[in-house]
Symmetry: D2
Subunit: 220 residues, 4 copies
C-alpha cells in the first residue's frame, strides 16, 4: 500500500504570468505542502500558466495522488478577497498570450464538452466558515476565460468523466502586498491571511459532504 | 398568413424591482416596439421580475411571435456599460426576494438541465459594432444568479429543446441617470444611448450568422 | 455701455489631452454659448490644457466679460457623475506632461499663495437642484493636482485678490459615451444630460446667494 | 530632565465608530507603543472619534510629549492601501453623527482659520520608501470631511500657530481582514503589513528633512 493510498488533498498553484515575478497561488500552495488537515495530507503541484499543458499536468497529479479533494488556486489581480468559484465554462478567450505564447480566442476547453461544470465543492459551507473566522471571502460566478477557468473546467471534466471519488473546484486569490505595491489602486492580501483562509476552506471541503443554504447570490 | 409569420425580433424588459419605480430594461424595450430593423419587426414584452412566471411569460411570447432573434434586457445597477451576456447558468440564488416574495437559494432553473447554456448570439460581432459606433459595450461572463440569469437560462433551454430557428441571449444595461441620481457613485446611461446601442446589437444579431474572432476575454 | 456690462456667466472648457481627440468640457461649454439663464448671458472660453497659460487665458476672459459667476469645466475620466469641486489646492503635481510638454512636480500654483481656496459657489444648493432634477451629481473634495486644480486655484486666487463681485468654482464631468467606448470599464454621461445638469448648476449658482445645509460629506 | 525631553514621535489612533467594534488605527498605534526608531521613542494616544474633543486630546498629548513628528492614523474603510494625506481642509461636513452624537455640516474646524494646511511631512520620500519595501501605499488628496480631516487640520493649525519644532500629518489605513470579512467587496490589510508600513513611514519622516520630487500626482 503506497503512501498515496492515504486520504489526501491536492492543491495546485500557477507559475507567474503577465509580467509578475511571483504568483501568489503557488506561494500559497507551497505553504501547505505536507500539512495534514482532518487526516488528509496535502500534496501540491505547480501548474504552468499555459493552455492545455496545465490540464495535462493537473490530471497527471490526480492520477498520482488519488486525492479526495482538489483545489486549484489562481491569482486574480484586482480582486480584494478570496473568491470561491462556482462554475467553469467551456471557452478559452485569452486577453493576453499564455506563457507558451498561445492566445486562443473562443475555442472550447474540451471539444464537444458541456457548456459548463459547477464545482463539486460545498461552497456555501466554505464561505460561511471563512467569514466566521474573519477572512474576507466571497462566491464568484466567473473564473474568467483564461488559464484559470481553463484548468477549472479541465479538472471538473476529468472528475466527471472518470470514476473518481473526488470533489474539486477553484479558488482565486488577490495580489500579495509586494505585488500590489506596484499596481496602484489594487487590493492585496497577506500570505498569512491566505494560509489561514485556505486551510479553513480545505477543512470545510473535506468535512462537509452536503452544502448548506446561505444567501450569497447576486441580482446581476 | 398571419402578421406573425413575418420575420421579427422579440425584445423583453422587466418590471421594476428592488425598490425602483422604473426598470430601464422595459423603458428601453418600449422605445423599440414596432420598429423595423433589417426587415424584422420588433415585438416587445414586459416580463414580471419573478422566478418561473417570467420564463412562462417569455416562452408564451416566443410561441406567439416566432421570432428569429430574442434579446432579453435587464437592469444591472452599478455596471457602467451595455453588457452582452455570454452564458446562463442553471442556478437560482437570490440575494433578495423577487416581486412575488420568493427567494430561492441554490435551486436549479430547470431540474436536470445542463449546468449552463452559451448564448447563441454573435456576441463579438455585436460588441465590435457597438464600440465602433461609440456606444460603451462589453462582454460579461456572468448574468448573476437572480431573475435575469434565470430568464436567460430559461430562454436558451427553451430554444435548445424546441425545434426553433431562433437565436437568443441577454443584455444587461446600467441605471438611467434619473435612477443613478439617487444611488451615489453609480454609473448611468441615457435612454438615447441605450436605444442607439441596442439597435446596433439587434442589427448585428440579425445579420451576422457567424461570429468573428475578437479579443475580449479576461485573465480572471 | 458695452454688451459686457450686462449680467453674464463665464463657462470654460479645456482642449483635449492625454491622447483624446475631444474634451467633453469644451463640447459641453459650446452647447451653452449665447444662452440666457436667469437674465445672465453665457459666454464661453476654451482654455489650453497647459499649466500657467490656462490661467492667463481665463483671467483675460474674466477681465473682458466681467461675469458674476465663473464655472470652469474639466474632464474627469473614470468618474461617473457631475462632480462639483469644493476646494482648490496650491500645488502642481502632474502625473503626465501637459499639452505644452511641461510636467511640474510639487510646485505651487501661486508662489506664497495660501494652501487652498474654497469655491465661492453655493455647492449644496447646486447639488440639491441637480439631484432633484434626476441628474447624477456629487460633491468632490479633490480636483486633483493637474491643470484642472491649477485653473480652479488660479480662478479663486484671482477673484480673491481683485475687487470683483464674482463667484467661481470648478465642475468635473465624466467621459462622453464615445470616449468611454474606448476605455473599457469607464462610466460616461451623454451630452444632453450634461447640458441639462450644468444649466441647473448655473441657475442655482446665480440665484442662491446663501448656501443651504445638506448632508453630503464623507467619513474619509 | 524628564523622559519626555528625549526625541520622540507621537502616533495617534481613534476609537471605533460607524458600528465597528475595533478601529484599526488604534490597533496599529498600540503595536508601536514604546518602540524606538532612529533614536526616537514612540508614544501613542487614542483619540475619541468626536469633533473638538479629539483635537483637545491630541494637543494635550503634544504638550506632554514634545514630539518631533506627529502622525495621526485613521480608518478609511473601502481604501485598499496605506494613504498618506497631503492636505487638511477647514470644514466639518459629517455624513454620520460622531461618537458624541454631533453631526456638524459645513462648519469650520477653526473659525477664521485658513482654508487648508498642507502636511509638513516628506510625503514623497515616505511613499517611495514604503513602495520599495513592498507595502502598498499612495498619496491621497482628500482626508474627507469627517473627524479624520478635522484632527489633521487641528494638528497642523496647532503646529503652525505654536512655535514647535515638530512636523505632522495624517495617514489613512484600510479595514483589517476581520472587518472586511463583514463588508463584502471591501479591501483589507493585515496588521503585520500595517506595522511594517507605518514604521517605514515614521523612519522616513524622522530622517528626511527635505522631500524628494517623485511623480505621484493625478489628472483629476
Amino acid at each position: 500500500m503506497s503512501s498515496y493510498s492515504k486520504p489526501c488533498v491536492l492543491v495546485t498553484g500557477f507559475t507567474p504570468f503577465d509580467g509578475e515575478s511571483i504568483n501568489p497561488s503557488w506561494q500559497l500552495a507551497q505553504q501547505l505542502e505536507g500539512e495534514t488537515l482532518e487526516g488528509h495530507i496535502i500534496h501540491t503541484k505547480e501548474l504552468p500558466c499555459e493552455f492545455d499543458t496545465s490540464i495535462a499536468s493537473l490530471t497527471k497529479a490526480i492520477d498520482k495522488y488519488h486525492p479526495s479533494v482538489v483545489i486549484c488556486l489562481g491569482q486574480a489581480g484586482g480582486r480584494c478577497d478570496i473568491s470561491i468559484e462556482r462554475i467553469a465554462i467551456n471557452i478559452n478567450d485569452a486577453r493576453i498570450a499564455d506563457n507558451a505564447g498561445n492566445q486562443p480566442i473562443d475555442t472550447p476547453v474540451v471539444t464537444h464538452g458541456p457548456d459548463a461544470y459547477f464545482t463539486t465543492l460545498p461552497i456555501k459551507s466554505m464561505l460561511k466558515s471563512a467569514i466566521q473566522a474573519g477572512v474576507p471571502t466571497s462566491i464568484s460566478h466567473t473564473a474568467g476565460t483564461y488559464v484559470c477557468n481553463h484548468v477549472m473546467y479541465g479538472l471538473l471534466h476529468y472528475l466527471s468523466t472518470h470514476d473518481l471519488a473526488c470533489r474539486g473546484g477553484f479558488v482565486h486569490i488577490p495580489y500579495l502586498p509586494s505585488q500590489a505595491a506596484h499596481h496602484s489602486g489594487a487590493p492585496s492580501m497577506e500570505i498569512d491571511t491566505l494560509v489561514k483562509g485556505i486551510k479553513i476552506l480545505i477543512t470545510s471541503a473535506i468535512t462537509q459532504k452536503q452544502d448548506i443554504k446561505l444567501v450569497a447570490g447576486t441580482t446581476h
